[in-house]
Each structure stands twice: as structure tokens, then as C-alpha cells.
């Protein structure tokens, strides 16, 4: 097992809710509430969950775009949790982000050259044959024409724009890339192009990804390990195969069974788990296990005791009192036949 590139321990982000003239804090939205995981060098970690589960906030905390209210972020052995702007700057080279919406993440008044060249300028990096040449090399790498250097974002289609965003991300050869819904704004046929591009770049440049997405099929395709979030908590974390083939948390099960399957023959025979209602508000999440209000296996204990994230099989952690598909001697972490 390779060393962790990034390690997150008990990460918390509580957004204050204020009221009145004095802006007194009356409540907090616990967007991320004690999340711990590691990202190993060269792997892709998928982060999935429904809207409001805190997956985007987690991504922004890791990149230090927002300040965590608790917990610890360790990147390459350095604690970066509360590092100052100035000290963070050199590290920004190593941690980059791909955004969801290729229409709002590129400045419409800058040329492609200026957009992709910006990281060089900001970081004050000199390249051997000039920034222009470096930018053109990157454009070629992501499948764009180097002659696009002087064009503006509006001249490109959605898929091409996403490539421009990826080019900017790659400009300084980062080690870790956080991709927040990198393909969800794109057409189906373009999604596949960008997914393949991300995979090729990972192989070529030895990148590590954290991919945040709501589409479970896309996540299965690109991830090595997958973390499932629900209302600010991590409920399950496992390698791809065990998570998709023998999910332990009822929520993961429900998510997987809700995905529509493109096979008309299967619509009759397929057994579905249908969750009732919507995700509760993170302003006032249910106590103890946050999923108990929608869980069909919930019992008294789920309403009073919060289940800890436990390793029930090698590389398979789950936070549930009544996990499914768990090996018999779960507590001893007996090797599961997966």
C-alpha cells in the first residue's frame, strides 16, 4: 500500500446561521461533520452522495477555498488545516481543482492563453521556451488545438470548455486534483470523452484524483475507492469492487438500487429499495444515525447511539449498527469473500 498523499481527520465545517441586528449566531448548518479519510498516491477516490450531503464542501475544504471549523488536513505530511494564505500559495501548485460548470468557471473576457497561462503568472514560474509554448503544449495534451491560444471561451462548446478548465488545472503539474462534478454539465457523448481524458492524464502524469459526483455509474467507472456521504457524515468507504458488489450500508444499497438501469428487460424483475421522503435538512439533522429517519432497518439503538465508522472487512469501512453483506465475525475484521 502506498503512502497517503492526503489525509483528512475529523474534518468539520459548520456554517453559522445568524439572526437580528447583532448577527447573533442562532444555529449552524453542519455541512461537513467529522469526516476522515485518506487519499493514496496515484489513486482515484470517488466521493458520492445526494445534494446537501457535504461532498462539495469537503472538496473546497481540502483545497482550502473555505476555512474548516474543525479537524485536520494533512497534505504530504504537512498540516495545512490553518495555514496562512501566503504559506498556502506554493502548495496551491500541487492541489488543483476542476469545476463543474465550464460556462461560469472561465473568465469570458480572457483568451484561452490568458486563462491557461494564469497559473504560471500567479506562481511566477519561468518556463524554458516561454509561457506561450508551455500553454500550447498543455492544450495539445488535453486534446485541443494549440492554435486555440488566442480564442475566447464563448467560441468553444461545453466539452471543449471543460478541456480548457482541465488544461488550466494541469498547467503547473499538480499532484492532487479535486474534480467537483467534472462531467455532469456535459452531454452524454461528451461526458465519455472527458472521463477518458481524465483517465489518460492520470496514467500519463501520475495524478491523484478526488472525484466528487452524484452519478454512481460515472463514479464506479473512474474510482479505485469510493466514499459515500450522507448529511455531512461518511457512511461507507470501500474499494470500488466491494462497494458496488457488496455494499454494507443500507443507504449505499438504496442509492445503487435507485439508479435507473438502461435495460428494458430488467425493469420488471429488478428488486428495488425505495427510500421514503427527501434528505432531511442539515440545519437540524436527525440525532444519532442520521439515516434512521429513512432507513427500513432502523431500530431503537439507531435513534440514540451514533454508529462509528468501523472497518468490517479489509479496506471496507461502514458506519451502521446493522450492516448488510457483513462478514460473520465482523468485529474481528475477518477477511471477507468479496
Amino acid at each position: 500500500m502506498s503512502e497517503p498523499l492526503l489525509s483528512v481527520q475529523g474534518l468539520e465545517k459548520h456554517f453559522p446561521v445568524t439572526k437580528g441586528l447583532l448577527q447573533r449566531q442562532v444555529a449552524a448548518v453542519k455541512a461537513v461533520d467529522g469526516v476522515s479519510f485518506e487519499v493514496r498516491k496515484g489513486e482515484t477516490l470517488g466521493l458520492v452522495g445526494e445534494s446537501g450531503c457535504g461532498k462539495t464542501t469537503t472538496g473546497r475544504l481540502i483545497t482550502r477555498l473555505i476555512e474548516p471549523t474543525g479537524g485536520k488536513i494533512v497534505f504530504e505530511g504537512n498540516d495545512i488545516t490553518h495555514m496562512s494564505q501566503g504559506k498556502m500559495r506554493p502548495l496551491r501548485r500541487d492541489v488543483q481543482m476542476i469545476f463543474q460548470d465550464p460556462y461560469s468557471s472561465l473568465n469570458p473576457r480572457h483568451t484561452v492563453g490568458a486563462i491557461v497561462g494564469a497559473p504560471f503568472r500567479i506562481q511566477g514560474i519561468k518556463t524554458e521556451q516561454g509561457v506561450k509554448k508551455a500553454v500550447q503544449d498543455i492544450l495539445e495534451l488535453v486534446g485541443l488545438n494549440p492554435e486555440h491560444y488566442n480564442r475566447y471561451p464563448h467560441e468553444f462548446s461545453g466539452g471543449q470548455r471543460q478541456r480548457i478548465g482541465i488544461a488550466r488545472t494541469l498547467a503547473l503539474k499538480p499532484k492532487l486534483i479535486i474534480a467537483d462534478e467534472p462531467v455532469s454539465a456535459l452531454d452524454v457523448s461528451i461526458q465519455a470523452q472527458v472521463v477518458n481524458l481524465l483517465e489518460d492524464l492520470q496514467n500519463e502524469l501520475d495524478l491523484t484524483y478526488v472525484v466528487i459526483a452524484h452519478d454512481l455509474s460515472v463514479v464506479r467507472h473512474i474510482s479505485d475507492r469510493v466514499a459515500v456521504m450522507y448529511l455531512g457524515k461518511l457512511v461507507e468507504l470501500a474499494d470500488r469492487k466491494s462497494l458496488y458488489e457488496s455494499p454494507m450500508h443500507p443507504y449505499t444499497n438504496a442509492l445503487l438500487s435507485a439508479v435507473p438501469i438502461p435495460d428494458p428487460k430488467r425493469r420488471v424483475e429488478r428488486e428495488r429499495i425505495r427510500l421514503q421522503g427527501d434528505v432531511p435538512s442539515p440545519l437540524n439533522p436527525p440525532p444519532a444515525c442520521r439515516f434512521h429517519t429513512r432507513c427500513w432497518k432502523a431500530q431503537e439503538i439507531c435513534k440514540t447511539v451514533e454508529p462509528p465508522l468501523q472497518k468490517l472487512a479489509p479496506g471496507h469501512e461502514v458506519a451502521c449498527h446493522f450492516p448488510e453483506n457483513a462478514p460473520a465475525a465482523a468485529a474481528e475484521a475477518a477477511p471477507a469473500a468479496v
Partner: protein
């Protein structure tokens, strides 16, 4: 004649940059109690088609041609005022984004009551009772209280349910759902799809579901129409489209999509390039610049628009490749690659 029949429907928009042929010669028919799925990427003309059927392009700049027959009545040439009386009663629409489709200043109940009273001569009290009943029907808890809620007080899934209640309040015979679940989370999407399936069975309406998600289409549709560049490129039963598709674009869509019900494939097989601009639709077959098999058409791809031809039992394909060749490509070159080795 079928309940709904489109014959060579054309909806063109003149713009400063040229004529946008959003829908260019679309024909299909649909019976009561059946579901048609229309699949396509952005700009393929699927939403324009649905608005066209509802008569919502009338009075605008659109140039509309062809015929739309709804229950024996022609709508393209019909008076806009007359089509208005059909909307809501005879045909209704479920929009993608319920937050922007509902009026934020009025309660959900008021909006359902208004629509119901336009088409039915009843008192406010009776209409309100009907609205509560409809909200209960689509699974909104405590409908007698929620009827007085404003749209912003509902969650996304509940809003979409309210929207469906509104669409169904006058018992329409044709229901068009334009990306009804795209804005929703996957668990809520599953609830809404179940609901639509149940309601359609109860109301025996004809349902058109428009989406880019092949999974959603497979869950609901009897028949599927694949659109590209304003034209139908393939039409058939759900089994035809998913098990023996014959158009290279349909193959491309299937290859682009990672699937949870199969072994994971090492690589996705995307379609090269991007969807065409409708101002500048490629000559000949609109798909030819992106088609992998264009070189097998002996140059016809770029010069000649292929006809929509029946290949077998109602399965229509618009492609220059001969039928046998299409089938052998699907069996030998495409299908094996979609399944993991």
C-alpha cells in the same frame, strides 16, 4: 388514426445568423396508455418538439410546418385560442425545473385551483377539494395543509410531485414530461419515476418523456425515438433500441454510458466531436462528421440525406449503411465492446 400523430413536423426559427431548423421533418404516432421516450443531446430538437405539440410556438417567430393530429384534430393550422383551451385539459406538460415553472407568489393550491377552474365550471370550494385530492394522489403528506404552502416551502422532490399533480388535475389525455427528473437526486428520481408509471396506468394517458438519460427512458418507455440534429435517426420499441440498435449514433450513446448493471469496462467508447449547431447542420447525414463508419458509405454520408427506413417490424433507421452491414457491425464490432472482456 392514432391518438397523437405527427406528420413531417417542421419547426424553424429565423435568426440573424440564419435559419435554425430545430425540428426538421419529424413523424411519429402514439396511442393512449403508451409511453414514448424521446432521447437526444442538447440542441437535438427534443424540447422544441414538445413545446410545438402544445402549440406554445404559435404567435412567435417560429415557422411551423407539417401536421399534428391529436385525437382527430389538426393543431398546426388550428387557431391559437382554440389550442389554448386544449392545453391543460387535453394535453399537459411537466417541466424540468419545478421551481421556475411555478409562480413563487401564489400557493401551490391556488395554482392548481386556477387551472382546474379554467376548464371546469366549479366553485372554488370544489376545486380546492380536488386540488387536495390530487396532491394526496401524488404522495404529498398532509395535502390538506400543504395545499396552502408556497412552492419555495417544498423540497425539490415535493415540488416535482406538485407539478405532476397540477399537470394531472384536469385529467389530460396526453402528458409530456420534459426532463422530469434531471434536477432531482437519484433516490427522489426513483420515487418520481415510480409515481409517473403508476399514474399513467391509472389515468391511461399517452405519455411522452423527453430526456438525455437512457436509463430513465429504459425504465418507462414502450417506444423510443432517438433524435439528432432535429431529425429522428432511429425509432423502435425499447427492446429494439437497447438490444438491436442499428444507428451509429445510438451505438455511440450506448458506448458513452458507464453502466452499473454490467461488469465495468476498462474504457468508455465516446462519440468523437460534439453535437452540431442547428444553424449549420452538416450536409448529407447530420451525423456523418462524427460517424466512425462514414467511410463505408461510399461518400454518400456527406452528400445525401438518408431516408428513415423500416428495417423490421416498426423499427426505423436513418442510415446509409445497408441493413445487413449495420447488423453485422452491431453484432461483431459494437456489442462485444460494450460488454466487459
Amino acid at each position: 388514426m392514432s391518438f397523437l400523430e405527427l406528420k413531417d413536423l417542421r419547426i424553424h426559427f429565423p435568426t440573424d445568423d440564419g435559419l435554425v431548423k430545430s425540428v426538421d421533418g419529424l413523424s411519429f404516432s402514439l396511442e393512449r396508455g403508451k409511453t414514448l421516450g424521446i432521447v437526444g443531446e442538447s440542441g437535438s430538437g427534443k424540447s422544441v418538439t414538445s413545446l410545438g405539440i402544445l402549440g406554445l410556438h404559435k404567435g412567435g417567430r417560429a415557422q411551423i410546418g407539417g401536421e399534428i393530429w391529436l385525437d382527430g384534430e389538426e393543431l398546426v393550422a388550428a387557431d391559437a385560442e382554440h389550442v389554448r383551451t386544449l392545453r391543460g385539459k387535453k394535453m399537459a406538460m411537466i417541466f424540468q425545473d419545478p421551481l421556475s415553472a411555478m409562480h413563487p407568489f401564489y400557493t401551490v393550491g391556488a395554482q392548481i385551483i386556477e387551472a382546474y377552474r379554467i376548464h371546469n365550471d366549479v366553485s372554488k370550494k370544489v376545486a380546492r377539494k380536488h386540488a387536495i385530492e390530487m396532491l394526496g394522489r401524488v404522495g404529498i403528506p398532509q395535502p390538506d395543509r400543504r395545499v396552502d404552502s408556497y412552492p419555495h416551502e417544498f423540497s425539490g422532490g415535493m415540488r416535482q410531485r406538485a407539478m405532476i399533480a397540477m399537470a394531472l388535475s384536469c385529467d389530460p389525455e396526453l402528458l409530456i414530461a420534459d426532463e422530469p427528473t434531471t434536477a432531482l437526486d437519484v433516490t427522489v428520481q426513483a420515487q418520481i419515476l415510480d409515481l409517473m408509471r403508476d399514474l399513467q396506468r391509472d389515468f391511461n394517458a399517452a405519455l411522452i418523456i423527453i430526456t438525455h438519460d437512457l436509463g430513465v427512458v429504459a425504465e418507462l418507455s414502450d417506444d423510443i425515438l432517438v433524435m439528432y440534429g432535429g431529425k429522428c435517426v432511429e425509432y423502435g420499441t425499447a427492446e429494439d433500441i437497447f438490444e438491436r440498435p442499428e444507428h451509429p449514433y445510438t451505438w455511440g450513446l450506448l458506448g458513452s454510458m458507464p453502466r452499473l448493471d454490467r461488469e465495468r469496462t476498462e474504457r468508455l467508447l465516446p462519440i468523437k466531436g460534439s453535437p452540431p449547431s442547428l444553424i449549420n447542420v452538416p450536409s448529407g447525414c447530420a451525423f456523418h462528421p462524427r460517424c466512425v463508419f462514414e467511410d463505408r458509405t461510399a461518400g454518400k454520408g456527406s452528400s445525401l440525406v438518408p431516408e428513415l427506413v423500416e428495417t423490421e417490424g416498426g423499427h426505423l433507421v436513418r442510415c446509409h449503411l445497408p441493413r445487413d452491414q449495420r447488423r453485422s457491425i452491431w453484432e461483431n464490432e459494437i456489442k462485444p465492446n460494450l460488454e466487459a472482456s
